[in-house]
């Protein structure tokens, strides 16, 4: 008898390219290779790409002015990630503990932002925090301040926007990890004399750490790239890697340099995912 598997093995290689595989090749692999090639190219004085091989772009990226942007990016991404963990963990835990009906509703509330345009919501924050925004008007009206406060165009505003945009990416993997937790293990911990804090530290936290790590990756990496948040709420005063990339492909019109930056960002992502799987995390949990 011939099974489906036997059949597959006898087919010529090309027929194994399913529509999805070919789509992936055209939309992901080929552009990636193109970006990689570009990153070793140069531009002439008319900003045209010259296909010569050099490491100049990567050398340029080591200059101190870029370094400052990297540091800013990492600091903002790290703060955002930590805030998301600290807020997201109790939030996800609370959702898991609810009876099924309420749990579904809360879960939907977390997912809904995925379906709405985050750019619009970030503009919403801008008008809310702006000098003549709702918050400042309220403060002045309450007499807390005389002049409107500078709430926008600083690192804090960028972190706020990033946290707001990426919070669901933290909650979902946490939710998955906490839901999978075997409740008998918590009972076993209590049974052995561990109070709530110790049970959390020694049992619950280690057993849900894969969710924390998955969430951290899903927040940290996009934060580096979400240039529109730092553009709109940072007002160019808090540039991140994403802004640099966007500028090279846009106003600066230096595609090779932008490509090199992109490659760096991709490598950074791969390294973090590798660390994650090394620490015992599963790729599926990253969504």
């Amino acid at each position: 008898m011939m099974t489906l598997n036997d059949k597959k093995q006898k087919m010529p290689m090309l027929t194994m390219l399913s529509p999805i595989t070919s789509m992936l090749i055209f939309l992901v692999v080929i552009p990636l290779i193109y970006v990689l090639v570009l990153s070793f190219c140069k531009t002439n004085e008319y900003y045209q790409v010259m296909f010569t091989f050099s490491f100049d772009n990567y050398k340029n990226l080591l200059s101190p002015s870029y370094f400052q942007v990297y540091m800013n990016s990492i600091v903002i991404a790290a703060i955002t990630t930590v805030i998301c963990i600290v807020l997201g963990y109790p939030f996800a835990y609370y959702i898991v503990k609810q009876p099924p009906k309420i749990r579904t509703i809360l879960y939907m509330l977390v997912i809904i932002p995925f379906w709405t345009n985050s750019l619009i919501r970030i503009y919403g924050w801008k008008s809310f925090l702006g000098a003549s925004g709702l918050l400042n008007n309220l403060f002045v009206w309450l007499g807390i301040t005389h002049k409107p406060l500078e709430l926008l165009f600083n690192r804090g505003a960028v972190v706020l926007g990033m946290t707001y945009t990426l919070f669901p990416f933290m909650v979902l993997p946490l939710y998955t990890a906490i839901e999978k937790l075997d409740l008998t293990l918590i009972e076993a911990s209590y049974d052995l004399g561990a109070r709530k804090v110790n049970t959390f530290l020694h049992v619950i936290l280690p057993l849900t750490s894969s969710g924390i790590f998955a969430g951290a990756i899903m927040v940290f990496i996009p934060t580096l790239g979400f240039f529109f948040v730092s553009d709109i709420l940072g007002g160019g005063k808090s540039d991140m890697i994403g802004n640099l990339i966007e500028r090279q492909f846009g106003s600066a019109n230096n595609w090779p340099l932008g490509s090199a930056l992109s490659i760096i960002l991709i490598l950074l992502t791969l390294i973090m995912v590798r660390l994650y799987t090394k620490a015992g995390g599963k790729l599926e949990d990253l969504g």
């Binding site: 008998t184 076993a188 911990s189 561990a194 109070r195």
Partner: protein, 397 residues
């Protein structure tokens, strides 16, 4: 010096307890009820658990054994009732404040901790010094015969080994009570038999009170000092394995524990401590007090206590015809049928005399071998109407 004194006192009180066989109540349950919504799972449970005993909760699946155990552990709060340990209230204590440990059915070993850390967990939580923990863990690993396994992780052990670690992890805390919820349920038969013996050995050696849950009556009978038989939330009977087996108080206990022949009868005559029973197919005597004339009762007679005589037998007896013999190892079961179609089992060791198939016999028993129980029924259930006696029964004899 003080330790020495305590130790001697401990020894002495132990010896005294053994000599005088005085029973000290450790855990006391009074009027315990538990309900989930409208589903009452445990009903008015009164129970004294003695210090150092091996007590088994026995009953069919869903009768409330686990719920009872979880209330003692502190994972569930009774809907009403009182529970004390050494006279102190237990209900308002959190599970981590109770000196009671549980062996979970699923073992519940911490997958991210080594075997050593699993066992040491309870001691660490009690802030014991590292140097003191090590010998304790090693000692308990030796007790469960897994010396040298400390560095492994739970997923590297077999089911039987994990089981032992779960027991070790609980025992190392020297609990006042050890709760075990069907701990051997997942093991194969051979391993289960072996662990039964070992658990009993550990319990005797350590003198810790065990409360053991099982639905396996054989396990309960071989291991326990006392058995609590539960049925749909009620305590049906509490007693030693002998009492439960020999003197079942309800029909449920008689049929649940071991094999038995159960007959319905009315009380035809009440003597001092004996009654005359009127069965559908004959008359027989049994021991018993507190019965009323014409009351409907059950009589339970174990297959090994059932006697038989030739068809022209003079004693009070019931006629029956032999259907078949069933051989189970060294045991032979003889199935006979009464005129009303009810089957009766007679059990003997192979080699002992038994009537042959198709032979007509008279069944009887010694009055002390029948257990008579109130039936709480008000009409006798007659089997006569829908009976197929088969060709074998010869009425003319």
């Amino acid at each position: 010096m003080n330790d020495q004194h305590d130790f001697l006192f401990f020894k002495f009180s132990n010896v005294r307890r053994m000599i005088m066989s005085e029973k000290e109540v450790l855990v006391k349950l009074r009027g315990i009820n538990k309900q989930y919504g409208t589903n009452q799972v445990v009903k008015d449970l009164n129970l004294d658990i003695y210090k150092g005993e091996f007590l088994t909760l026995l009953g069919p699946s869903g009768c409330g054994k686990t719920t009872t155990l979880r209330m003692i552990a502190g994972f569930e709060t009774p809907s009403s009732g009182e529970m004390t340990i050494n006279g102190e209230d237990l209900i308002n204590k959190e599970p981590f404040d109770r000196n009671i440990n549980t062996v979970f059915q699923s073992y519940a070993l911490f997958p991210h901790m080594s075997i050593y850390d699993n066992i040491a967990f309870g001691l660490k939580m009690k802030n014991m010094k590292k140097a003191d923990i090590k010998p304790k863990v090693e000692e308990i690993l030796e007790l469960v015969q897994l010396t040298g396994f400390g560095g492994r992780f739970p997923h590297q052990l077999s089911g039987g080994q994990r089981q032992r670690i779960a027991i070790a992890r609980a025992l190392v805390n020297n609990p006042q009570v050890l709760l075990l919820d069907e701990p051997l349920g997942a093991l194969d038969l051979k391993l289960r038999k072996q662990m039964q013996v070992e658990l009993k050995r550990m319990q005797k050696k350590l003198g810790i009170t065990f409360v053991y849950v099982t639905h396996d009556q054989e396990e309960a009978l071989t291991m326990s000092d006392r058995i609590v038989v539960m049925n749909s939330g009620y305590l049906e009977q509490l007693g030693t394995p002998d009492e439960i087996y020999e003197k079942p108080r309800t029909k449920f206990v008689a049929t649940f524990i071991g094999e038995t022949n159960l007959f319905e009868a009315t009380i035809a005559q009440v003597d001092e401590d004996e009654v005359l029973l009127n069965f559908e197919t004959g008359c027989m005597r049994g021991l018993g007090k507190d019965f009323e004339l014409d009351e409907i009762v059950y009589a339970s007679v174990r297959p090994e206590k059932m006697n038989f005589g030739s068809s022209n037998f003079y004693k009070p007896s019931m006629p029956a015809v032999v259907k078949e013999h069933i051989y189970i190892g060294s045991i032979v079961k003889c199935i006979a049928m009464l005129p009303n179609g009810q089957e009766v089992k007679i059990q003997r060791l192979s080699g002992e005399p038994l009537p042959k198939p198709n032979e007509v016999i008279n069944l009887y028993w010694e009055p002390e071998d029948a257990t008579i129980m109130h039936s709480r029924e008000d009409t006798l259930f007659s089997l006569i109407e829908n009976v197929n006696l088969g060709g074998a029964y010869d009425d003319s004899k």
